[in-house]
Symmetry: C2
């Protein structure tokens, strides 16, 4: 069905066939279980051709989702630089991408993932596991702690996107990016590198727990 019968596809047709097949296989199997081989089979082309046109599975996924920017390339940029400013840099990067025309696609994808279980799974597997956790590992945070810190960062970043771009709650919707960097950067910083559990942050130890 993907490849039109009756004529040999030219380059554009082949490329489009692979993208169609990728969308279908990613939706069916999720990001982790989808393979270049399965996508090639679905598109009726040689796997080498998929690599030739799109390089890695990450890149094929991003193109099939119409994502013009690759978070796997962007996030390591935010992580390089002074460790105590990584939260600020991550919020600044996210805003610079989402405020740009290219960001519209990312927001549209988040919006769609809210009502589409398959897209939600793709987003979870790709953005969280592939991108964010890998990046956090570069900060030297591993295993369960890395997974928790990644997911906490995701709560703040996803919430910022929802409130600024989807629900459009003022003054966050139209705030200057640097205002948000200063207000929200410390949250991301703490989730990445800070103390998550200290009760001293929450209450005076002399008071005890009233609950």
């Amino acid at each position: 069905m993907v490849r039109r019968s009756g004529r040999r596809p030219g380059n554009q047709d082949t490329r489009q066939s692979i993208l169609d097949a990728a969308r279908s296989v990613f939706a069916e199997k999720g990001f982790d279980q989808a393979s270049i081989r399965a996508i090639a089979t679905e598109a009726q082309v040689d796997p080498a051709l998929v690599h030739h046109y799109f390089g890695t599975k990450d890149k094929l996924f991003l193109e099939s989702m119409n994502m013009p920017l690759n978070p796997a390339e962007l996030i390591p940029k935010a992580l390089s630089g002074p460790r105590e400013e990584v939260g600020e840099r991550m919020v600044r990067l996210v805003l610079s991408v989402w405020d740009s025309p290219a960001g519209t696609a990312a927001v549209a994808l988040l919006r769609s993932a809210m009502s589409n279980e398959r897209l939600a799974r793709l987003m979870r597997e790709f953005v969280i596991s592939q991108v964010l956790r890998r990046a956090i590992a570069e900060l030297g945070i591993q295993g369960e702690e890395g997974a928790l810190r990644s997911a906490l960062v995701a709560t703040q970043i996803a919430g910022l996107a929802v409130v600024r771009y989807v629900l459009k709650v003022e003054p966050v919707a139209s705030a200057d990016p640097e205002t948000l960097v200063r207000a929200i950067g410390p949250t991301v910083q703490r989730y990445l590198t800070g103390e998550l559990w200290s009760p001293a942050q929450l209450r005076n130890p002399d008071e005890g727990d009233p609950h």
Copy 2:
């Protein structure tokens, strides 16, 4: 169209007519602009009857959205008690509501608001302006600062809901509520009552700003 012709509606029919009219008028005008009078006109009943069945506009709105719980009653509860624990209490309350069977409706509403501009407006106007800002005013925070702090709290709470209940990112999706209270409470606390701007939180002043 709302009231069936040919017979006099009984109580259940009247109640349902008012709910149908409320949904229609709220969707059309948003929460702020919708009036009990306009809803009564749409339902072809006396405004006193709307008050009789549903009390306030808040309560009518919640029933028309199938919301079993009233945030206007819940949030002030979270705000009462020691001021330095309000962030923890708010996260604990939100999780106890959303983890309960009744919470399904709240999550469904958030999900729908992501793809429906009218619902997004209703949610924004009702939850943010009516509930959260009013509650924050009780903490003695007013005006522009109150609006900013409310919206920042909304980024963290909405993001927690999206990651735990919609995208279902582990370990946040299945974490013990108290784990999340301890990890996320301090964020909400800072957005409510903490220092939002201090550059000292972000970098050593001796280093200067490298950007």
